[in-house]
Amino acid sequence: MVLTNTRTLVLIIPHWRVIAAGATHDHLAAVVKKDRVVDVTPAGAEHGITPGTRRREAQKLCADLKIIEDDEERSIRKFNSVVASLESVTPRIEIATGGWCSFPTRGPSRYFGGDQALARIVAERTLKALSAVLKTTEVPSVMQPRIGVADSRFAAVLAATFTSLSRVQVVVPEGSATFLAPFPVDVLASKYSPLLEAKELVDVFRRLGLKTLEDIGALPSEELLARFGSPGLLAQQLAQGIDGRAPLLHSISDVVLEESEIDPPADHVETAVFVAKALADRIHRHLAINGSACVRILIEVESEHGEVSSRLWRHEHQFTSADITDRVRWQLEGWYQSENPPTGPLSSVRLTVDETVPDSGQQLGFWGEKTVNDERAIRSFVRIQGLLGPDSVTVVQRGGGRRLTDIEQRVPLAGTRFDPDQVITLPESTAAPWPGRLPAPLPIAVLPQAQQVEVTDGNGRRIGVSGRGQIEEDPVRIRSDSLGSHLIIGWGGPWLLDEKWWDPATKSRQARFQFLLADGTSHLCVIENGKWWLEASYE
């Protein structure tokens, strides 16, 4: 798998949640989510309140503290107005959450004359937009936007968070690993890390004496993978300045796009969101089938007057359909409250999956992958296994034996160490080493389960066989529910089969016959204990 890195600019506005909640730096305010402080103004922080502090404890520390309930929608909606100021810089802004966005620098950097110049322009414009939000010309330095540029997203995030006084930090190209090296492993578990629930992992790293990202980067990757699985490997890639999960190689036809008209056009955000939810569900199902997950999505909403709101959204892990629906709501709320709101009702919604990663639940590694063709094929089989279960895809493996079901064997694909170039040896059907085997050619349609049939003579009486397998009367008619009633125009047999005669428990005496019917079909039937069974057909 080729890991491709995109040089990225990350913009972070510190204390965004309190800013979005309407507080300024000198307010005594904290934003609380589920009984815990998630953000606090610098003035509040002076009282010892930090993110993670319990609500009651925070109130104890500062009696005048204003507690504001967290509202992600509000946070993103307000952030939209800040991001709008950057849309003339690049169309590819990805919003991760309120106060945090990023974009690839390649195009805009060339246009504005380098990463430094680009970062300065972004800083200026964001600051201007931010002062509009805060309604002040003097944005306090602790709330000023921070910008980091680096070869990987994770490195850019750290560059932005740990900036110097200038609040802009550009890591030189190829320098990300060196830049990351001295950071403590704890950053892997920070809220900006793509590693999910990494606290335990980081604890183990520390107990093993791995203190910095450099230590993690220097370990043999096989050992990390063996000990910690894919999170271990991802941690190492992050530490080395590689954006861990590579986008899936996809062809044009793999682009997942769902769109829908809103009919009749709606003035309510919720109506559009409702339409988008169905689309999001479809996308999610589609991706699940393909064993992939969406990490970046383009949401476009059009009004009846042709105005379009278009925005890219990124998720650090993967979007669920509810996540996508939320983004649609946030984007629309922001649009209505922006300087250029839609003048007509909303008429269509389009969702385009912009970037996918393999759903980490699926692994192909243990298969003997050979050619590009095989790899593609195997990937599609994995999708089917995801749909129908691991036993649903089978391949041929033949064993010996005299019953047709012994000869015909399908084994689940996943259960075999699959190697398409390995020649599967099939026994020569004509070289029957034992009596009782069927004469060649063999029937091509072998019923997975034999069907009971009725075989009668010219007088409509059921036909049995003698102890030696000899038929008592000539068979004239065969009948069953699925087959119907047919005249027999030719027959052969019996071929006797005393299976496992040495074992009384499984001993079974069977005699086989071939019947050629008037409708041109020909079948293989077996009689056992006086009952006839249709076993196979020569279709």
Binding site: E408, L426, T430, L442, D474, G492, Q514, A518
Partner: protein
């Protein structure tokens, strides 16, 4: 056949796809010589649906995959739990790149959709039914990817529109009599009805299977010229028929 196989792997190459110099007739899946005469293009056109009906439909559908299965391409069989691999490999099929999805349940559309991303030829069993809207989507995707579908039984039953229809119009077994002998070889006459360049009726006479279980062209110089033409729809059932060749329509 080697050239054909490299052609298949190229189908995914955008240059090949978009180049106006590649004629449609070059984009075919190979078919063994015994059956190639049925196809104006010399093989199964990529992105096409072929319907196979008649008494020996399953054998014929399998026989059409022989060359593809030997060329390194993948074949997927959906809803064909009954396909006997012993008989099929006697016919000449190579099973190393062949997968079965016996019971797609209510996910037929999704399964075929997923399969199209990985295999070149898809065999669809007689009990498979696509939701009508899926049928259209899949046809569009087949054209794009060049995947071809062979249906065992009427294509319209599974909501696909066939580009070619192959029908086994006559099937005659040798070797079996009344109470003696056994099914030895079957001579079949295959008729092709198609659209466009294939609209002329074509016929092919083959052993399917011959007495070794293989596919073989009928050597018509040694045959009574009017054997098949004069075949009655059904011969009266008489125990005295003995080892004579039995006719079946």
């Amino acid at each position: 056949m080697q050239n054909a196989s490299s052609g298949i792997s190229l189908i995914n190459d955008i240059h090949q796809e978009s180049s106006p110099l590649v004629l449609a007739r070059h984009r075919t899946f190979p078919v063994v010589d015994e059956l190639a005469g049925l196809f104006t293009d010399g093989g199964i056109r990529q992105g096409s649906t072929t319907e196979i009906t008649g008494v020996a439909a399953l054998s014929l559908a399998s026989a059409l995959t022989i060359a593809v299965s030997r060329s390194g391409s993948w074949v997927g069989a959906v809803g064909l739990p009954m396909l006997g691999s012993s008989a099929a490999s006697d016919l000449g099929i190579e099973f190393s790149r062949w997968v079965f999805i016996d019971h797609p349940r209510d996910q037929v559309g999704a399964v075929i959709h997923a399969l199209m991303a990985g295999v070149d030829l898809i065999l669809v069993g007689p009990d498979i039914k696509l939701p009508p809207d899926h049928g259209r989507k899949i046809v569009a995707l087949m054209r794009e990817r060049g995947t071809s579908i062979l249906t065992v039984g009427k294509a319209t039953l599974c909501n696909l529109r066939p580009d070619l229809c192959l029908r086994v119009s006559q099937a005659t077994w040798t070797g079996i009599g009344w109470g003696h002998g056994h099914l030895l070889s079957r001579k079949v006459e295959i008729e092709l009805v198609g659209r466009g360049a294939n609209s002329n009726l074509r016929r092919e006479l083959v052993w399917l299977p011959d007495k070794e279980g293989r596919l073989k062209t009928v050597d018509q110089s040694n045959e009574p010229a009017n054997l098949l033409q004069s075949a009655p729809r059904m011969q009266k059932v008489l125990p005295e028929i003995g080892e004579q060749v039995l006719q079946a329509s």
